[in-house]
């Protein structure tokens, strides 16, 4: 079980529309990877290609260093030894839980099959629901059955297509954690597709942000948030705004919020106009600060307020402030900069 996956510059088309355009990434055995992107970015197509349902027009896919898809050859899905979990669970409605989980074990002996099904159901905590039919289960239970069914044949790779999207918030996060622990426990390699960054951050060891058919950035969740390599990723991941600035040195940027210093390393020449990414958690509320900004909007998030502030120049920034600091719209808020990860992009002239 568990094999490295190499997706090498693959391209796919639907009719005459390009869906995936030279997408590449590698996944180490035992890694849980996420493909994250807005709808229509091609992430599901990549998953279908890995499973063997989508022909390639360019590139190749290697599992365990063996080519399983190329424009010339494509191994049938049933010969790839991959497990797959779907957004709609795709349980066989005419089979009960036990037989659903056993569906992929038809080459095993009866005793093997019974043992594996028992083990899998115990792992997902459904050993008492064996004889129920899919329609008698809740959404979360159905998802567990789908997972057990996919894992029962010990696939070399597990694929999940928006597995938690049909579930409600609370259950969604809990199940995401549970599934992560379970997969880590058995050492499975997994690719999950999602449009929800919270899902991706909860679940993935590595996350690939996709855009218009290619991988925009392939990184750890922490790095995606703090060191986005492109403007698209910076805007797509998390909240944040851009303010204007100019490069002051290889590690400093001048802006209206003062001279910002972080772990920036840039080879842009001094004086280059840039856009600086400012996250809501980069701006700290400080009543004693001399620097203030006027509150123009606030939204209550329970544990915190998200304030929209307008700087003297007119540009807006966001600030996340613990909710016991309640300030009214129109007030001036004292702020302090705490930018560790300074992210800048050369300004594109409008």
């Amino acid at each position: 079980m568990s094999a490295p996956l190499k997706v090498d510059r693959i391209s796919c088309r639907y009719e005459n529309e390009s869906a995936v355009n030279h997408a590449s990434f590698d996944i180490e055995p035992g890694d849980l990877a996420c493909l994250l992107g807005p709808s229509g970015c091609g992430k599901t197509t990549v998953l279908r290609a890995i499973a063997g349902f989508q022909p390639l027009i360019d590139g190749a896919i290697y599992l365990d260093n063996q080519c399983i898809s190329s424009p010339a050859n494509i191994v049938a899905p049933e010969h790839r030894n991959m497990g797959m979990v779907f957004q709609d669970h795709a349980l066989f409605p005419h089979l009960n839980v036990e037989r659903n989980v056993a569906a992929g074990l038809f080459r095993r002996s009866d005793s093997d099959r019974r043992r594996i099904v028992g083990e899998m159901l115990e792992r997902v905590g459904l050993q008492n629901q064996m004889h129920k039919y899919p329609h008698e289960l809740s959404g979360g239970q159905q998802q567990r059955v789908a997972l057990a069914r996919a894992l029962a044949p010990s696939p070399e790779l597990l694929l999940m297509d928006e597995p938690f999207s049909n579930l409600d918030g609370d259950l969604r996060e809990r199940l995401g954690q549970e599934v992560r622990e379970l997969l880590k426990d058995i050492g499975a390699t997994c690719v999950m597709v999602t449009h929800d960054q919270q899902d991706a951050f909860t679940f993935g060891d590595v996350v690939g942000v996709m855009r218009e058919g290619h991988i925009e950035q392939w990184d750890k969740p922490y790095d995606l948030y703090h060191e986005p390599t492109s403007l698209f990723v910076a805007k797509f991941i998390g909240d944040g705004v851009f303010i204007e600035g100019t490069i002051a040195s290889a590690t400093e940027v001048k802006s209206e919020l003062g001279l910002l210093r972080g772990d920036l390393v840039t080879d842009l020449p001094v004086g280059t106009p840039v856009d600086i990414l400012v996250r809501p958690d980069d701006i700290i509320h400080d009543d004693h600060s001399t620097q203030t900004a006027r509150i123009v909007k606030r939204s209550f998030r329970g544990e915190s307020y998200l304030y929209t502030l307008v700087l003297p120049s007119g540009s807006k920034v966001l600030s996340l402030v613990p909710s016991h600091h309640s300030h009214a719209i129109g007030e001036d808020l004292g702020i302090k900069m705490e930018i560790d990860h300074l992210v800048v992009y050369p300004r594109i002239k409008p």
Binding site: K6, D8, R9, E15, R48, A51, G52, F53, D58, G59, A60, Y62, N65, Q66, C67, I68, S70, N73, I74, V75, A76, P77, E78, H79, R80, N81, M82, G83, M84, F86, Q87, D88, H89, A90, L91, F92, P93, H94, A103, G104, F106, R107, A146, R149, A150, P153, P155, L159, D161
Partner: protein, 567 residues
Amino acid sequence: MAIASSSNTEQAQYRFSSALINSADPWRIGTVVIALLAILPVFAILWLAFFPTENIWPHLVKTSLPRYLQNTIVLMLGVGTSVFATGVSTAYLVSNYEFPFRRMFEWLLLLPLAFPAYVVAYLYTDLLEFAGPVQQGLRTLFGWQLASDYWFPNVRSMGGAVMLMGLVLYPYVYLLARSSFIEQSPNLSAVSRLSGRSPFKTFMFVSLPIARPAIAIGVALALMETLNDFGTVDFFSVHTLTAGIYDVWLNMGNLGGAAQIASVMLTFVVLLLSLEYVGRRRQRFYQSAGRFSNKQRKQLVGRSKWLAIFVCAAPVSLGFILPFLMLLKYAIQYFEQSWSPEFREYVFNSLYVSTTAAVVCATLAVVVCYGRRLHRSTSMIIAARIASVGYAVPGAVLAVGIVIPLASFDNAMDTFFRARFDISTGLMLTGTTFALIMTYVIRFLAISIGSVESSMSKISESVDMAARTLGYSASRTLGRFQLPLLKSGILTAALIVFVDTMKELPATLLLRPFNFETLSTHVYQFASDEMIEQSALGALCIVISGLLPVILLSKTISQSQSLASRA
């Protein structure tokens, strides 16, 4: 691209060599072959029409063709208007108003669909002719003696044909218009009412335009049946194109001429298909996402209540209850004479061809639908569309198109065997039920594809993907996970094809082997000799079997109602 070293690639090929998806897999080939078979008659007709052995085009154009054309167009315009008026008005009433017996009318209005037009034509002629009970009663009542004493419309006329066909074909429009009216958001009408339009203006401004695509589909289907009809127009001596095919083929023995008339009819087919296609394309945009289950129906009172009951009761009683009672009465009265060994043979023949056609259609439908599901390419979608083109082609036209290639096959075989072995193989295909069943299959394949497709589309594609990733091949996925879920869809498909084959007359008359009678040809034979009473039992069998799919339809309607009331 060449990331893997060459040794890796070799190893990979060795490991997976038996597992490559073959682009020429049986499902793809099956679908394409079925599509080619379905389109074969059309090509055969066009080929023979433009390269005939004996050119009768000039003769046709000079003599009968203009009359055939004119009659066909008048008939279609008449039937089109009639089914539109009846179908839309009844559908609008039952979906927007509340009045006594409304829920009953909802399914009763479908019943006339069980009657083949020709049976209704025979019955009404019997009822309304000079010697029939209606005119007799009038004569007794008013003391008239001769036909010249009074005026009475002749039912065996173009007008009669329009009336009677409209009476049994309006349910196509009713069914589609009704579901369109029900699915319309009540908010749309509310907006129109709030902006000051009266209920009637709202109907014209909102409801009708939104239902227009659905109505267009219904009218197109009804007109396809009109174009297909032979029994009625033959009996009423309305010389349409279909009647022309019989005349030129059977009476003049000119297959090339029949093919030429058939090619003219294909123009109508293309027009009707385009009408249907445009309707279906628009429908996609017009259909609202949600079902509006608790739609408020306006309670009708006083005169409008009685008017609504009358508008709904008239087509039901004239299109079903009255003819059904007549048929029942004759069937009982003449049971001794009708229940003969010959009759039992006709029943057996009908059951045999209908069952065979149903089983073949259902099987081919599964192949086509699954083939398209596996390979979602443009070519497969086109192939599946071509495979279902037969329903639009009139039976007589199909018969011509099938006889052409089968006869040349028979002739070629016969010549070959005579030359080689001095044996005459005779009419191997055209002289047997093979040609007949092939025609049924091509004509009704669309129905079975539609039914199987609609239940297959309810199975999420991820179910297939789940089965495949669990190690089942495409064929085993079909067998293990699709067929159990498709059971009812396949049964419905087979049932509807079975019933349509039982009713089918035009192609059966042209293609049946010598001395091979089915119930429908038996009814035709007797009734056109004005002996409807003796063939009433046969007609009753056809109508009762025709009720099966109608009951199925009305069950779906009542189910959606109870679902809606529960929601």
